[in-house]
């Protein structure tokens, strides 16, 4: 009896462990089974490199959206990564303990704020600001990039701080002993040693930025044309899905699913980079 019970529980545990495999397989099947035939029907090059997205007249080119996602993510990285790394340096090497008690929860809170609140904040504060500065609607590539930069800050800060703390203290001490200043020791001895952790932080930030939806859709303007400048409106792959999925039918709906497939492939590549990096570290 006891043996049967043990066996049974073991099987239950095993089944639960396999649920995540099932989930990934289901997601892949649903997306690829509809998305890939749709791509074929539209034509791979027409779909991936077509510059016109007009579902009503049968044009399904997501090139502007792919570029949109990449550009927005790029700006987010430019805004968020340096600030995030420097902030992590502050927390690991400058922050006195009494201040750390406030800064650490602050970063956690920044990570916990829902993206819809960020989006709303962007809409109410950054958009009018950009409107005053550059004219136009204020909803633009730059606006979305800056907002995403703020949103990836906590991700970058946390990962970088963890990897900085993992650097042996002796690096820093040795550098001090050689007469370097505190800053030189931190930036030229400790920071390079945390290189792979920082790279991981950047990859995680990119992953978060490229997958972000609600905040971007509120501030990016969502025009389906290639942006002329940094202040033109833009649509990302994620916002394309969220904007049109509600009413799309037929090939239009399938084209949106195909957009998700492209997004999924992007994320897979990012994940691969991340795990390759982790493996190299081990």
């Amino acid at each position: 009896m006891q043996k049967v019970k043990e066996k049974l529980m073991r099987t239950v545990f095993l089944i639960c462990a396999c649920v995540s495999i099932l989930a990934v397989v289901l997601i892949c099947v649903y997306l690829f089974a509809t998305g890939v035939p749709a791509m074929k029907e539209i034509g791979f090059t027409d779909f991936l490199f077509g510059q016109k997205w007009k579902p009503s007249s049968g044009y399904f080119g997501i090139f502007p959206m792919i570029i949109g996602s990449i550009l927005v993510t790029g700006i987010a990285v430019v805004v968020g990564v340096p600030a995030g790394i420097l902030c992590a340096v502050f927390m690991a090497h400058y922050c006195p303990a009494w201040l750390y008690r406030f800064v650490k929860p602050a970063v956690n809170l920044l990570a916990g704020i829902p993206s819809i609140v960020y989006g709303f904040f962007g809409l109410m504060v950054i958009v009018p600001f950009m409107k005053n500065l550059f004219g136009g609607s204020g909803k633009s590539l730059l606006t979305a990039g800056i907002l995403l930069g703020i949103m990836i800050l906590p991700t970058v800060i946390k990962t970088t701080e963890a990897s900085l703390n993992a650097v042996p203290k002796s690096y820093y001490e040795g550098s001090l002993a050689l007469g370097a200043t505190h800053e030189r020791s931190v930036f030229f001895a400790s920071l390079p040693a945390a290189k792979s952790g920082i790279l991981a932080a950047i990859i995680l930030g990119v992953g978060r930025a490229i997958g972000e939806t609600m905040a971007v859709v509120m501030v990016a303007g969502n025009q389906t044309i290639l942006p002329e400048s940094i202040t033109s409106g833009i649509r990302t792959m994620t916002s394309n899905i969220v904007m049109e999925m509600g009413y799309a039918t037929g090939l239009h709906q399938e084209a949106l699913i195909a957009t998700a497939v492209v997004l999924f492939v992007f994320i897979l590549i990012i994940n691969l980079c991340f795990s390759a990096l982790k493996r190299r570290k081990d």
């Binding site: 073991r10 495999i21 203290k169 490229i210 994320i267």
Partner: protein, 310 residues
């Protein structure tokens, strides 16, 4: 920034070993900066970045609170949603419902999966590798892709329409990797002597897992659950097309009348229409409050774990 010397004394008191080493008086530090302008620039950049990050948070919070609190009227908390009062109370209740149901579904599965991975699986087995790859992939998928999948599978294929259950299952898949990972860490932190002791007293594997290992790992598992709650409460993209935008408390799990918008979705609709900006601010205040409480509890649990370790 001006009293660096003071700070280093403070740091030293808190007994972080690094700070004993570089205790430099303020004037000595100034001299150093005079000799090495690069250091000065780097120091200023670091301070500015930290100020930027913390300042941004403070700005967002104050901005939302100042604009939102005046609009937290009683009307906003009436039981029934109408287009006039745009009450958020049903959305708050929906959020709680959604959170509870998602946890009910995902937490046991996640814990059991972690138990298998840590306690049962043979090291380096093929299956474990596949499970790990699957979990990692799952944790990287953007929420909109989850939402799209949920929409295709539950709402269209299974004809559930916009329903709370579709949202719950979609969210469960989303938080599963988080639960598995944190539980795994918590299980690995349980000393082997506990297992050996239990086996030595004649307990079977199952009894050891349920009576010895899991109870010891509870705080670690809790911290994962709290993180998951944070994600559920903050999620919107995965829910818009699964649980939909029904404004009131759902009457069924699936089918008509089962659509339920959580507070984030409610806020998205309000801010998208552009007619109810004030009410959107009010919802943002409540969302911030929820986030704050979740973070507070999370901190408490973390501190509890740290105390136990130390």
């Amino acid at each position: 920034m001006t009293d660096t010397a003071d700070n280093s004394v403070m740091k030293a008191e808190n007994s972080a070993p690094e700070n004993y080493i570089n205790r430099v008086s303020f004037t000595a530090r100034l001299k150093q900066y005079a000799r090495s302008p690069l250091s000065l620039i780097l120091m200023i950049l670091v301070m500015l970045s930290a100020l930027f990050a913390v300042g941004m948070l403070v700005f967002i919070i104050i901005y939302i609170l100042v604009n939102g609190i005046p609009h937290l009227s009683a009307e906003q908390f009436s039981w029934e949603y109408t287009t006039e009062n745009v009450s958020m109370l049903p959305a708050i209740i929906n959020t709680l419902l959604m959170t509870a149901m998602t946890l009910l579904l995902a937490v046991p599965v996640g814990i059991f999966a972690a138990v298998y991975l840590v306690e049962y699986a043979k090291r380096g087995s093929k299956l474990v590798k596949v499970i790990r790859v699957a979990t990692e992939t799952l944790s990287g998928i953007p929420s909109i892709v989850f939402g799209l999948f949920g929409f295709l599978m539950f709402n269209i294929q299974l004809k559930w329409q916009y329903s709370i259950l579709a949202g719950v299952i979609t969210l469960s898949m989303m938080i599963l990797p988080l639960i598995i990972r944190t539980t795994e860490e918590a299980l690995l932190a349980v000393p082997d002597s506990y297992r050996e002791g239990s086996f030595g007293l004649g307990a079977g594997k199952m009894r050891t897992v349920f009576r010895v290992i899991l109870p010891t790992a509870v705080p670690g598992i809790m911290s994962g659950v709290i993180l998951a709650i944070g994600r559920i409460v903050g999620e919107s993209a995965a829910l818009i097309f699964t649980s939909g935008t029904g404004h009131n408390i759902p009457k069924a799990l699936i089918g008509s009348g089962s659509s339920a918008s959580t507070l984030t979705v409610h806020m998205y609709i309000l801010s998208n229409e552009g007619l109810h900006t004030n009410e959107a601010f009010a919802s943002a205040v409540v969302l911030l409050g929820l986030t704050f409480i979740i973070n507070l509890i999370s901190d408490m649990v973390e501190r509890h774990i740290a105390k136990k370790k130390g």
